[in-house]
């Protein structure tokens, strides 16, 4: 069966196409990886309204430095249209790294587990092993896929955070975006870590000065909206009605994110275009050359009575098999390449390639279309010659 389908005498044609398609698929897989990252971040910020205390910090949302006291959280919850408010504490894992580039930074995220996850697009984070946190979990951590991979963590393992030992109770599936680098704990634990880090805070909260307590130790909150409510409008309403808070408008943040990733999008477009050109040229070139190489055979077949249509059918049939074979070879090559590269960078918790089904489908369609067009074109060129002429040219 397979032998019958194998296009005999086309080994080098298939190999030639495979190399081009491997280029196309691996470049495409890198582009897909970046797209998924950008889209994932976008989905996240569009899924919730992030609120932070107005403070001395820079940045927006819960990466800002200000505190969001419990009273403010209660106020926000009363704004019409708000469905849920979840207090959060977000800390950079390493105190030495900068606060910038929070999308690629490793973070400790403490969340108030008594409130359901407010993010519309991440109602629950996908857990690959173990389970997610429950409200009464303490000194327990759920880690993102990259976070776990770079440290060799598994469920049951121990992760020291700020010199406190945490038990890993869950590992998340790869989301290819921010949560991959999160260590998620209960908000109580996060507050402990925060206090240990910042002796000044201990003084303030220990003394009860300014009427602040432990409950007020939040870096921000994620706000969910009721069905039918426009999030941007609601965000503006919160900003107007609640004093002393910093509200991010999801739509604006998304736009901001898009602008800041515009370079990547352009890069991506370049990579994709390059892949298409390389793969496309190699494929159409190889198929056309393979058809022209058989010009003498065409002459002979026409002498034996083959009509243009019969020849075209034969050529297209072979071109399709060659293109599919080349495409399969290219995909195999790209997968082998991609996985071996990813296996090397995996220890640093990186992934460079994403071989998505839509990418592979596109590559197959692309190969079929271009293979057909190239073969059809070459056949029509040859059909213009008389059989005798074709035989002479090909000899």
């Amino acid at each position: 069966m397979l032998r019958a389908l194998w296009p005999r005498g086309y080994l080098f044609t298939v190999l030639g196409i495979a190399v081009g398609m491997a280029g196309l698929v691996s470049l495409g897989a890198m582009a897909e990886r970046i797209t998924r990252f950008i889209d994932g971040g976008d989905r996240f910020v569009l899924g919730q309204i992030s609120v932070a205390g107005e403070g001395m910090g820079m940045g927006t949302g819960f990466t800002a430095g200000g505190l969001l006291p419990a009273a403010k959280i209660a106020e926000i919850a009363h704004v019409p249209g708000v469905a849920a408010v979840q207090a959060q504490v977000m800390l950079p894992l390493s105190t030495t790294t900068s606060h910038f580039l929070t999308l690629t930074q490793e973070l400790i995220l403490g969340i108030d587990l008594s409130v359901p996850m407010p993010n519309r697009h991440y109602r629950a984070l996908p857990v690959r092993a173990g389970r997610f946190l429950r409200p009464d979990d303490r000194r327990a951590v759920v880690v993102g896929a990259d976070f776990a991979a770079s440290r060799g963590l598994a469920v049951g393992g121990t992760l020291p955070l700020g010199s406190l030992p945490f038990t890993v109770i869950g590992v998340l599936d790869k989301t290819l975006t921010a949560p991959d680098r999160f260590a998620i704990v209960s908000i109580e634990d996060a507050r402990d870590l925060w206090l240990r880090r910042d002796p000044l805070l201990v003084q303030v909260f220990g003394s009860g000065a300014g009427g602040l307590g432990r409950r007020d130790l939040n870096s921000g909150a994620a706000v969910g909206w009721a069905p039918g409510v426009d999030p941007d409008t609601l965000a503006r309403r919160i900003q107007a009605e609640v004093r002393g808070v910093n509200v991010t408008i999801p739509g604006e943040l998304s736009r901001l994110l898009r602008t800041s990733t515009a370079f990547f999008s352009a890069l991506l477009f370049g990579i994709g275009a390059l892949g298409l050109v390389i793969g496309g040229l190699s494929l159409s070139n190889t198929v056309t050359a393979a058809v022209f190489e058989r010009i003498r055979d065409f002459g002979i077949k026409r002498a034996l009575g083959a009509t243009d249509l019969q020849l075209l059918g034969e050529v297209l049939g072979e071109a399709l098999r060659v293109s599919v074979g080349g495409c399969a070879g290219g995909v195999a090559l790209a997968l082998a390449l991609g996985f071996s590269v990813d296996a090397r960078v995996f220890r640093e918790g990186q992934q460079l390639f994403l071989f998505s089904p839509r990418l592979l489908l596109f590559a197959l369609g692309f190969a079929l279309l271009l293979g057909t067009l190239a073969a059809g074109y070459a056949t029509l060129r040859i059909a213009r010659l008389s059989p005798a002429e074709a035989i002479r040219r090909g000899s």
Binding site: G9, A303, L304, G305, A306, T307, Q310, S386, E389, I391
Partner: protein, 224 residues
């Protein structure tokens, strides 16, 4: 089948702009079951004439009739049908397809005319047996001697028992014995099946088989 050619002209574009006239008004009539031998010096245009008669390339002028049909003026598709169903060629340079075995090359003749495959295979077996190449059926052309290639090419040419057989030096590469076998086959095709045969040859004994011997000279055919 009656083959009739009237005033065939053909010239090739030369190295310069000057066309090289090869055929300058060839008239020819061969009746069903007759063998016409064409002789002439090398380069006189014998292969060109066969190629034009076989609808492998268009003439610049003149007409070709098969029975009552003016085949020289048919459309592409109809000419392709003619070539497949009515005309068999034995090319001077065999023209086997190198990626196909001897067996597949012979059966290729049946592919485009929609002939029953089983029946064509039976016929191919008989022919290759008679021409002593059946034991080479699984070989590729490159693995065959010149004479073997020629015999395989002959089998392909007559597989469909075409009413018109055009043979360009069909015994050119063969030793006496095998040449006799092929010439015998050709004679049998003409005598038993009524095949019209045009035979380009240098061999005296081949010409002796023919009903007419014509000489191509100066772009015209003359009785020899």
């Amino acid at each position: 089948m009656l083959l009739r050619a009237v005033g065939l002209a053909k010239s090739y574009r030369g190295a310069g702009a000057e066309p090289i006239p090869v055929l300058r008004g060839v008239d020819l009539e061969v009746k069903a079951g007759e063998i016409a031998a064409i002789v002439g010096v090398s380069g006189s245009g014998k292969s060109t004439l066969l190629s034009v008669l076989g609808l492998l390339e268009p003439a610049d002028g003149g007409e070709i009739w098969l029975d009552s049909e003016r085949v020289s003026h048919l459309g592409r598709r109809a000419q392709a049908r003619m070539r497949g169903a009515r005309i068999g060629y034995v090319f001077q340079s065999f023209l086997l397809i190198s990626r196909l075995t001897a067996w597949e090359n012979v059966l290729l003749a049946a592919r485009y005319v929609g002939r029953d495959r089983r029946e064509a295979e039976q016929e191919a077996l008989r022919l290759m047996e008679r021409l002593d190449v059946l034991h080479r059926r699984g070989h590729y052309p490159a693995q065959l001697s010149g004479g073997e290639q020629q015999r395989v090419a002959f089998c392909r040419a007559v597989l469909n028992s075409p009413p018109l057989l055009l043979a360009d030096e069909p015994a050119g590469n063969l030793d006496e014995d095998h040449a006799r076998v092929i010439l015998g086959e050709i004679r049998a095709q003409a005598r038993e099946r009524g095949t019209t045969v045009i035979l380009v040859t240098h061999r005296a004994e081949a010409a002796a088989e023919a009903d007419h011997v014509l000489r191509l000279q100066g772009g015209r055919l003359e009785p020899s």
